[in-house]
Amino acid sequence: MLFPTVQYMLFFLAVLVIAWSLYRYRETHKAFLLAASYLFYGFWNWAYVPLLFGISLYSGFVAQRIQDSEASWTKKRWLIAGVMVCLATLGYYKYTAFALTTLLTMWGRFAPPPAIPISSPLLPLGVSFFVFHAISLLGDSYRGKLKERVKLLDVLLYVSFFPQLIAGPILRASRFLPQLAERRNPNTLRVNRAFLLIVGGLFKKVIISNMLATRLVEPVFAVPQSYGGWDTLLAIYGYAAQIYCDFSGYTDIAIGCALLLGYKFPRNFNAPYTAVSPQDFWRRWHISLSTWLRDYLYIPLGGSRKGKLRTYINLMVTMLLGGLWHGAAWTFVVWGGLHGLYLVVHRLWARVRWQPLARMRATAAWRWASRLLLFHAVCAGWIFFRASSFEIAFTMFQRLAVPGAATLATGPILLVLFLGLAGQYMPTRWRNGLELEMGMWPALVRGAALAMAISAIEFLGPSGVAPFIYFQF
């Protein structure tokens, strides 16, 4: 069940009405949301609901053991047991085929590989996300960030809560579980903000992302040989806008839906293409993943506490594994490696303390040049991220130098590309102002305005709904 569908709308409206009706009865309310989450997941494939349930239950059980243990070595043992099972699950579903094919191909270079039948398990939707939720629960329990003993119902809902189940944002147990424990003040519900997030998310996904995908990005990345430099460049920019609008659109809808149900999700994007450095970029792009990697991988590896060389190695390892998390393919590893390299190079560059350079760095022109340079470095990474093979990725780079007209640069495409990229420079006060303004409208009018906005999006968007890019991860 995809967000921009009538099925999801009907499902969500029903859940919203029932959930608010049950709001006084906390445990029933949570049990209902859990059942709705399993129903949501079961729409895709019921066969994997037991896996979701099993991982949630197991991580909840282990988290309780960690919390109950007094000796630190016992805590650690439970933590290791919990994390190992989570990673083994992720590894089995996501990386079995990748590991075997890589191994057999390497073997095949020297001798005929053994004739063993291999097949990969069907990848459960959102497995990377719910496994990371489970690990976050274990990590937060181990670090003592959870003030109260975790309840199994809360854990089940935390891992499976449907707005974030398929593609995040990745919630921290220490931030979300207290929301389930406390009875929130309904007066603080920001309905208008939720609506703006949902409408904005739908606009980004249905119009910008889908149009760019079908009419610009897919044709060029499928057969880059057929396009000249301008079209190739447009397709690369197009993918940068598409993936941002696709993923941030999804998370905006997720955050908005959760908000309407009375729960707060963390912000996942903050105008990433306005970043001026790789470090800045990762503070703005997929924030819930980058902070997860920082807290549960980079810092445990030693972070920046063990000298410069170790810092660089830790950065590279974190980004390489972050790349592999996205997909079981070497192109994703290269994408992660490129970003690791950007971070290392930037750290080295930032250490240069030459005074004239320091003065230049403070100028607006320098910041804009940095933005532009970083945007293109990020785009270079997107080529590997999007291409289905290295051959296509390198062909894309080659085609940039081939003269040719911009055959795909139609008015509608240029308009949505502009909106996708330049929209990030929209001042936050505009949205806040609109939110305040909407607060003065009668509720019936606000509902009607929401319907009109969604209707307009349906009107302008291409037919059919492409799955969100991050669903595959």
Partner: protein, 409 residues
Amino acid sequence: MRDRGLIQTTRQLFLLLAGFAIAGVLLESGGLANWAQGLEIGPLRTVAVPVTQAVQSAVQPLGLGAIRKGTLENLARVGWSDDSALTARVNNEESAGAGESATASKETQRADTHGPTPVKTPKHSEHALGAATPLAADVPVTMELPQLPEAEPGKPRVVALAGDSMMAVGLSAELLRQAAGDKNLHFVKAYRSGTGLARPEVFNWMEQYPAMIGSAKPDVVIVAIGANDGQGFVVDGKVLKCGSDEWRAVYQQRLADYLAMVEADGARVVWMALPPMRIPVYNAKIAMINRIAYTVVSQNPQATWWNPVRYIGDASGRFREFTTLSDGKTIRVRATDGIHLSDEGAGLVTPMLLKWLDPPTPMQQASAPAATQESVHATEAPTHEDGGGARQPQGRGHSKGQPQPDGGL
């Protein structure tokens, strides 16, 4: 205090939802009715269709449907719409309008050089519910392709790639990549994912195909379609269960109509068999659709049944996810969904099609490596060593390796 807040918040939310529902129904009654029509046959559709149709009838007098239609047409005029049939219709109307005030000769010139060719929209035959013609017992594993007539010198052979996601995912991109730079071939894209022949009320290929090919006159049409068709549909208010005799009769007719449409103007048609699927239940449906398609295609002299299962499947024609090439590389043949071909899997079969579409000249054959010269011609029965061919495409190919004879892994 909080309880009062809860009541107030709940009241506000419900009022808001009421506003949303009223405005939504007024604005989207047509869209909701279309959505209900497109649902899979089942309890939800049974409830949704009459409800949405009743709502649509109630809202119709307000005339909002006409505004919606007009706006969609205007969007198509400015190139916003991705609906090929609507865009073609709007353009046709425009060119017809322009023609009224222009001389006949000017109109002819415009149509030839700039304007769209008016699109004739064929229609499905009337389907009388009855028994289907007997189906072929099984579909042959054949890759024999009839020799094509010589292409006119200096004129590329026009090849339409038609179908659903079985063509859109993997296969079309691989064909286009391998043929990139080949001046003897010109490809026309006439495929759309998530479509099929079973539900014309959801996506009508009889309207969309002519719009997609536009003024092109394909010499050859390669068709890969049917993966979404294993579902029931409604004819004359009667629900036909997938696989029933009546369902087969109607589906067979729809398939025959589609075939007749794509082979209009003398195009040769290559109908690709659907490959074996990963999930057994789905596989059974695919096998049935293949039998229906083969029954129709085998009765049509212009169409050729092409079943490259020996390359895609294992030695006994069953689903195979990975294979090892003769160069030792292990590749994924099928996409992770177990339905579509992966790019590399498509790369196993596309060289044969391209060699058939644009046979190598004697000079190319002479300059080709000895190993590839020995490979059999595409019109002959395949062996697992075959597939590379003498063709040297500019795009990427799989000339480095071919699948192992016994199915590899």
